[in-house]
């Protein structure tokens, strides 16, 4: 009895909003007014952040390593594009949700493949599904536009009121609101008993099933939710850029996504958001040094991160903020080091 109340009070304490989190979102909102000429790149960051949030749900919380998360992104992107192109659903918000739901159905169906077998099989099945969809999109180029992509997507105003402008201001606020709402949902999910059971599964599936957690059903559920998130991210991509081409399924997209999440850190939701900002800045930097070969630098960053060790890297990154907090507030660090996912 005591242990149960311990767990629940701990969970409630974790779920409380901390000042740092509120400051984070205020900062994100203030960016809109600080850099009014950079809406396009900031929208790009928000989309990437949402996509990474989706990977964090399955990788950081459930421990599923996926090499083909772009599959759901691509399905969302093409669904939104086709709906707008053929005028099936003109209203962007409804189209966004529908695109997410389509990706979610795909996620549900493929989750049965993913939960079977060990890490290696998962890697291959996820990668295989993304490649399969890419091959399909290429095969049915009369629908998807093949390598040229969908052309001539015209987006209608959001809720019939806010038209997309060429500076991307509407797109930015639209993306920020979507990201914030979905973040709230994700935060609710991971702090619920359901989220706790996911952590238990990640730490030790055998033990989790021994205490009565239905491992497979939980994994299917979170994989489906993550597919929904990725689908929304893809749909946002199409809606804000009026573009959808074959590269939404590309392997590089899934691999970049892992890098983003690893830079930010897994298992505390903000990792994806912080990682997206850092990744885009790195990308800008590398592209100015060597426009053609930035793949090399991305690879180098991955190798260095793994060799240094993800935990150690995050401790270094948090050293300065912690020092300041300790000096000013005179207490122990409030910025927690993200959970490691050692085997």
């Amino acid at each position: 009895m005591n242990a149960v109340s311990d767990v629940s009070s701990h969970a409630i304490a974790r779920a409380r909003w901390r000042p740092a989190e509120i400051a984070f979102w205020m900062l994100a909102l203030s960016c809109a007014f600080l850099f009014p000429s950079r809406y396009l790149i900031m929208t790009d960051i928000l989309r990437l952040a949402l996509f990474t949030l989706s990977l964090d749900l399955i990788l950081g919380y459930a421990g599923i390593v996926s090499l083909g998360h772009a599959a759901f992104f691509g399905v969302g992107a093409y669904s939104a594009g086709l709906m707008a192109l053929h005028g099936i659903i003109n209203e962007p918000v409804i189209a966004l949700v529908v695109a997410g739901l389509i990706a979610m159905v795909l996620g549900f169906l493929t989750s049965f493949l993913v939960i079977r077998g060990v890490d290696l099989t998962r890697l291959m099945v996820t990668l295989g599904i993304a490649l399969l969809l890419e091959a399909l999109a290429e095969r049915f180029s009369n629908i998807t536009g093949g390598t040229d992509g969908l052309q001539g997507i015209e987006m209608q105003p959001i809720l019939g009121m806010f038209a997309f402008d060429m500076f991307g201001k509407t797109g930015f606020f639209y993306s920020l609101i979507v990201l914030f709402l979905l973040f709230l949902l994700a935060r609710r999910i991971v702090n619920s008993p359901f989220g706790l059971s996911l952590r238990a599964i990640k730490n030790n599936p055998l033990r989790a099933s021994a205490i009565g957690v239905p491992v497979n059903r939980r994994l299917i559920a979170i994989y489906t939710v993550a597919a929904f998130y990725a689908g929304i991210a893809g749909a946002l991509f199409t809606q804000t850029t009026a573009l959808a081409s074959l590269d939404v399924f590309a392997f590089e997209r899934s691999a970049d996504l892992m890098l983003v999440l690893v830079i930010g850190g897994t298992g505390y939701l903000y990792g994806g958001l912080i990682g997206a900002v850092v990744f885009k800045m790195l990308q800008e930097l590398f592209q100015t040094i060597t426009p053609q070969y930035w793949l090399f630098w991305i690879g180098l960053v991955l190798v260095v991160i793994v060799l240094v060790g993800r935990d150690r890297m995050h401790r270094w990154a948090l050293w300065l903020p912690n020092l300041i907090i300790r000096q000013i507030a005179g207490r122990k660090a409030v910025v927690a080091v993200p959970e490691s996912d050692a085997p």
Binding site: M124, L127, A135, R139, Q292, L302, V306
Partner: protein, 289 residues
Amino acid sequence: MTTLFTILFDGVAYGMLLFVLACGLAVTLGLMNFVNLAHGAFAMAGGYICAVLVNNSGWPFFAALPLAFVTAAAIGVLLERTLYRHLYTRSHLDQVLFTIGLTFMSVAAVDYIMGSSRIFIKLPAALEGQFDFFGVGIGRYRLMIIVICGLLTVALQLILSKTRFGSRLRAAVDDPRVASGLGINVPQVFAFTFAFGCGLAGLGGALSAEILGLDPYFPLKFMIYFLIVVTVGGSSSITGPFLASLLLGIGDVAGKYYVPKMGPFVIYTIMIVILIWRPNGLFGRAAAR
């Protein structure tokens, strides 16, 4: 009927090639439980070494093949000793990230040095063209691949089952702690095996330039094929990946011939069906780690 035999022949050649390319991965991934997605990079290294030697330095093709093997193995052992060996005990996520990073670096580096277009290796005249065998067109080059890869497979099987090194390797894989207690130098055995696997990949890369095409994106394009061979084949023996390679090769060639519009669709579908049916691979051990 003759087309059927031609497809079968081409498929077997293709499958044999995939086996030589992927069997190193079967050892690192299946036996040592290390996810090495950069395996294709070693194959690409071998292919480019062979191409440079034959095209630029005028070496004969058959002299360049062993050198492709040796160079790829040398690169392999260098990386194993300096980088990979720190990662054996890390989580799969770390291994995936690290090897994807290596793959990206190799792709960009080869693109920078050799250019992004496809490379062809000049073949000796004896290997070009094809001859008729009871009405079935047999490509000379493909026949050579079947002979070389067939011999290699037999040799590998014999090494694994008959020699002292083979039994050491199997012992080290089954239980590294007990094996080192018996006086087997486990890291050395792993390093040697890793290097040998990379060398085979390099040889496969050199042989495959003609059939699969060699360009800087080779490691990414064929990553899924190598993974299919290993996961479908399972890891208990060398026979599993071998049969899986043949199945994959014949399936791919037949799929491209009979339903060309579906492209690689056939292979992925076969793979997914097999993995639903047997999650640990066709010939896998019941309890994979």
